[in-house]
């Protein structure tokens, strides 16, 4: 009887599902599997969970190394002095020519930690540094108009962010920290700002991440306009999904879409010099025609800060 057989098979399937399996200590097994698989081709033999764990361990090791070796934002150094070493012996002579050209155009450079946050970190560092300079120029007087302007924009950003379905519980603390940092600009020296932006696990990581929310909110608020730039390989454009995958996660690298969105949200323009092997760096300004204070250097995969004087 067909029905009887089905029942019998289901009974067997359920019995098999209940059978004890030896994988009592998954972590220990994964650890053993990882240890056993020291050669790359063995990766294929790992299960998804094992690969995840391996990836996470490698990522953590890389992050630890980056943390102990690279300042979040370094001191100002000459452009050629900072970069030449990295491209010594590079078969592509275009890099050396490009560096020479940048060296003639820019007085110095600050290295930014290579942890996936470099655009947001470099942007925020340079802009706030500029605000501190502007304010210092006015002495203890009234806030500089640019400081007033950006404070207004950041204060108003919370309502905008909440309007595109972020939870207040989740973003409140980050928003408050940026508001506070801006409120404190009149009593912040450049050295204090530099120290603040280099404090591990401190305010910096919070306000740098908050830039991601500002960028994502702008993308969501202008979904129609940004949709063509966030299409996936199938041609589907889901801005919320794009923000979830490409903007919000900590340490996720930044593309031009995020840059445009952040500069729009804060109304702070940025100029980026693109250095590749072609010889002449090309400069892009967002938005076009603006005269930004924030100049960044982009090399494939990374942003640093450039200073004209």
């Amino acid at each position: 009887m067909a029905a009887g057989n089905d029942d019998e098979e289901l009974r067997k399937a359920i019995a098999a599902s209940l059978a004890e399996q030896p994988a009592a200590d998954e972590n220990a097994d994964i650890q053993r599997a990882i240890e056993a698989s020291t050669t790359p081709q063995d990766l294929n033999a790992l299960t998804a969970a094992e690969q995840d764990k391996l990836t996470i361990e490698q990522m953590n090791a890389i992050n630890d190394e980056i943390q102990s070796n690279q300042a979040m934002v370094g001191d100002r150094v000459g452009v050629a002095a900072a970069l030449a070493g990295e491209y010594d012996g590079n078969a592509n002579a275009g890099f050396a020519r490009g560096i020479a050209e940048l060296d003639g155009k820019y007085a110095s450079l600050r290295r930014v930690r290579k942890d996936g946050n470099c655009f947001y970190r470099g942007f925020l560092y340079r802009y706030l540094e500029h605000l501190c300079e502007l304010q210092a120029g006015r002495g203890a007087g009234a806030p500089h108009p640019e400081l007033e302007r950006v404070r207004g924009v950041v204060r108003a950003s919370k309502a905008k962010i909440l309007s595109v379905d972020y939870e207040e519980t989740a973003i409140d603390m980050f928003w408050e920290m940026l508001v506070e940092v801006l409120d404190d600009v009149p009593k912040t020296t450049l050295d204090q700002w530099h120290a603040k932006m280099n404090e591990e696990h401190g305010v910096a990581m919070h306000i740098v991440w908050f830039c991601r929310v500002l960028s994502a909110a702008q993308i969501k608020l202008n979904a129609d306009r940004f949709a063509p730039f966030v299409m996936d390989e199938t041609g589907a454009a889901d801005v919320a999904e794009f923000c979830r995958r490409e903007v919000e996660p900590v340490n996720h690298e930044c593309e031009q879409v995020q840059i445009i969105a952040l500069t729009e949200m804060l109304e702070i323009p940025v100029a980026i010099e693109y250095l590749d092997g072609s010889g002449t760096p090309s400069k892009l300004v967002f938005p076009e025609g603006a005269s930004p204070v924030v100049n960044l250097l982009y090399r494939p995969g990374h942003y640093d800060i450039l200073y004209e004087e």
Binding site: S17, A23, T169, A170
Partner: protein
């Protein structure tokens, strides 16, 4: 800066007030780092009627690092280990962001019960069954729900005692018979009737 509990506290306060989302969280340790969440099986899935306890550990890097979550209640699902309760879900790993909360993570687990992703399995055996024998999968998952995820009906045992007492046995006899029969009412009746 030491670990800041401000955000975690806010989240927990909010969760206590929230009666609509259908997820609850209980604090299990005085430092608030160990929590236990409860989600219900979504309607129209083999998990309907089930109540699932989720073990939650808050890492010191929270909310920059994801909360660690695993199913404490056994469940038959391609993305959850049937042995350990370990969960394969991107937002609990590299796709986590501080924009997410414990509540949104629990809601995502509920969503995962609605839409398994067998191409990224945690439990290969379950994923195989899900892909190759969908009917068997559904019934097995249902069986696991009935067996492991049914909330114990409060007072069920007392009701059995009351029924047997009504049949004319003393309360003392009834309680002993039920205990001997490990709660099986029919077996207890048989034992009582045979005078054992």
């Amino acid at each position: 800066m030491a670990f800041d509990r401000g955000r975690l506290k806010k989240e927990l306060t909010e969760l206590t007030r929230d009666t609509k989302s259908g997820v609850t969280v209980e604090v299990k340790s005085s430092d608030m780092m160990e929590l236990e969440g409860v989600i219900t099986g979504p309607e129209g899935t083999p998990y309907e009627g089930g109540t699932y306890q989720i073990g939650i550990t808050i890492p010191s890097g929270y909310p920059f690092e994801p909360p660690k979550m695993k199913f404490l209640t056994k469940i038959w699902h391609p993305n959850i280990s049937s042995q350990t309760g370990a969960i394969c879900l991107d937002i609990l790993k590299d796709q986590w962001s501080p924009a997410l909360t414990i509540k949104t993570a629990l809601l995502s687990l509920q969503a995962l019960l609605c839409s398994p992703e067998p191409d990224d399995p945690q439990d290969a055996q379950v994923a195989q069954m899900y892909l190759n024998e969908p009917d068997t999968f559904k019934q097995t998952a249902k069986f696991w729900t009935e067996t492991y995820a049914r909330p114990k009906e409060a007072g069920a045992e007392d009701a059995a005692v009351a029924r047997l007492v009504e049949m004319g046995f003393s309360r003392e006899q009834v309680v002993k018979a039920l205990a001997d029969a490990k709660g099986d009412e029919n077996e207890a009746v048989t034992a009582l009737l045979s005078g054992a």
